[in-house]
């Protein structure tokens, strides 16, 4: 097919990508939106297969293409089907890395093919695009792999060398790689230079991510998501292919905005996430001091409290994901609602380990999303709440955030401490992601139920049924 027709189909695909993203603005249209994206992708690939330039590939060429697609589809389907929803962040990180890798490999193929057809075969503008694609794509690959390993808690990671003085090393690595990219671009991406740049960028991706705390990985993943899009867009500049540019930019924007949203919800700057250290500041109170006054409780007592409540708010956190307690939580909530008790969920924007993490888990357990209230909304009615049931959340309900000298100062929280009674389910007094003690646990109106999240909820439910 001639270039004009192919480009027209690419345009249709681009529009479908956009409409697909628009579909994601509402749960009701989200499935359709995602399917639209898939159809757009199919359309773009199909029309590429009959592109003039590919038509000359011959039988062997097509065989390679289809073989590659078959292998990729097999692995992709296998990964998508076997993964548990709880491990979603890891999987997204992995896919991200592969996307970034594909981008720089394509740029590499372009450089190799054109480099050997004579000097100066690559225009300066395109040469800049290849360098960008190599740089961003390679950083995305290793960065994502590190993020994947950290989230999956891979044992290999422990053997990896940590980088001393990481800020200095990162600055140097970054500077060198950028310089290399510039050289590579100005020298018109001669084959060898390109791969040197890729190698350096792979190293840079590793350096930048290895020293970021595991719990900050969601932000890193969103950022890498953005990068993988930008890498695709850069490859689009190399191939002068608009559908790559458009789809890549959409992803680039998406990742950037998610990053921003997460940073805002944690009240930290992106620089602080990427280069800063998080942890107890000098002023942080000692855990023993904070936890002098902790009152433990058991499932029976909690059941009694719930039995007489009129309004219950459930605040889930990362621990609910770990314990996979979402189905048990739903059963408990349904039981309470059948008794006429008002039940709502308070969802903190960064509860869990990726944005919307809690929503996905609760949706998996068929909990109507009308019951899921955002932080600001639930906080307005917290004082009218009889029991606030905190399940595996910690930092997101830590009233210490209201103190100016706290490590999480200024992070907006769910006001669980303002409910009449607050029951916190977790296994121990160990801290959450931010590593600081939580004064909520020793508040006068707080009771601690030390147990695994799922087991505790099941125990409460059976106590309720018996009582």
């Amino acid at each position: 097919m001639s270039r004009a027709w192919v480009d027209l189909v690419y345009l249709i695909a681009a529009v479908l990508f956009i409409l697909g993203l628009k579909g994601l603005t509402h749960p009701r249209t989200a499935v359709r939106g995602n399917l639209m994206g898939a159809v757009a992708m199919l359309l773009a690939v199909l029309v590429t297969l009959v592109d003039q330039q590919v038509l000359g590939a011959g039988v062997f060429g097509y065989f390679l293409i289809f073989l590659g697609m078959a292998i990729g589809t097999g692995i992709g389907v296998w990964l998508a089907i076997t993964i548990r929803l709880e491990s979603m962040p890891e999987l997204v990180a992995l896919f991200n890395g592969l996307g970034g890798a594909a981008s720089f490999v394509v740029a590499g193929a372009y450089v190799w093919a054109n480099d050997h057809s004579g000097p100066e075969a690559i225009g300066l503008e395109i040469s800049f695009a290849t360098a960008a694609s190599g740089l961003i794509g390679a950083v995305t690959l290793t960065g994502s792999l590190v993020a994947f390993a950290k989230l999956a808690g891979h044992p290999l990671l422990k053997k990896m060398p940590l980088i001393p003085n990481s800020t200095v090393v990162n600055a140097i690595a970054g500077g060198v790689t950028l310089l290399l990219a510039l050289l590579c671009a100005v020298s018109r991406s001669y084959d060898l230079w390109f791969w040197v740049l890729v190698l350096a960028s792979l190293g840079l991706g590793y350096c930048l991510t290895i020293s970021i705390g595991g719990a900050d990985m969601p932000v890193v993943i969103a950022l890498l998501n953005s990068y993988s899009g930008l890498a695709a867009a850069a490859t689009g500049f190399v191939l002068e292919n608009n559908v790559l540019i458009i789809a890549g930019s959409l992803v680039g924007a998406s990742g950037l905005i998610l990053t921003q949203i997460m940073c805002k919800a944690m009240n930290r700057s992106l620089t602080n996430v990427l280069f800063g250290t998080l942890g107890p500041t000098g002023d942080t109170k000692d855990a023993d001091e904070v936890y002098q006054n902790v009152k433990a409780t058991g499932p029976d007592e909690v059941a009694m409290l719930l039995d007489v409540a009129r309004r219950v708010v459930i605040v889930p956190g990362y621990g609910m994901a770990v314990a996979q307690a979402q189905h048990a939580v739903r059963d408990l909530a349904n039981f309470l609602m059948d008794k006429g008790i008002e039940v709502e969920y308070g969802i903190h924007p960064v509860a869990g380990r990726m944005p919307g993490h809690m929503n996905v888990l609760l949706a998996e357990a068929d909990i109507p999303y009308e019951l899921l209230k955002e932080m600001d909304e639930i906080n307005t009615s917290m004082e009218q709440t009889d029991v606030c049931l905190v399940i595996g959340a910690n930092d997101t309900v830590n009233p210490d955030a209201r103190q100016a000298n706290s490590a999480i100062a200024g992070m907006p929280i769910i006001d669980a401490d303002k409910a009449r009674t607050c029951v916190v389910i977790k296994r121990s007094l160990s801290p959450g992601f931010a590593g600081i003690p939580n004064p909520l646990f020793s508040a006068d109106n707080a009771l601690m139920l030390f147990a695994d999240g799922k087991q505790a909820v099941l125990d409460i439910l059976s106590a309720l049924k018996e009582g």
Binding site: L21, R28, T48, V92, F95, A102, N241, S249, M354, Y369
Partner: protein, 104 residues
């Protein structure tokens, strides 16, 4: 008579880099405007779904593998595998997640 008149536009060809930047800038705006409207509930599916879209490099991989000779063809082949995993896995896993939302 009139001095030699070419088509106003065709007389100097548009620069592909500038065209690319124009399309890039517009697409970024479209992305920003749409993504900011997506509710937090859907942020995880958005992340995995947009991730799948970034597998659009598959198109580039097919072009490379189809057109280029020798080693570059091999690179194209590798890129096809990588990008296909990203695309197929990404859309599928997003679909799995969204199905849960749909049930109501």
């Amino acid at each position: 008579m009139f001095y030699a008149l070419h088509l106003l536009a065709a007389s100097t060809a548009a620069n592909p880099l500038v065209l690319g930047l124009t399309i890039f800038a517009l697409a970024i705006f479209v992305g920003i405007e749409i993504i900011t409207k997506i509710p937090p509930t859907l942020h995880t599916p958005l992340m995995s779904g947009s991730n799948a879209i970034s597998g659009i490099t598959l198109v580039g991989a097919v072009l490379a593998s189809g057109e280029y000779p020798g080693f570059a063809k091999l690179l194209g082949f590798i890129a096809i595998i990588l990008a296909t995993i990203n695309v197929v896995g990404g859309f599928l896993v997003t679909h799995r997640m969204l199905e849960k939302f749909k049930s109501r």
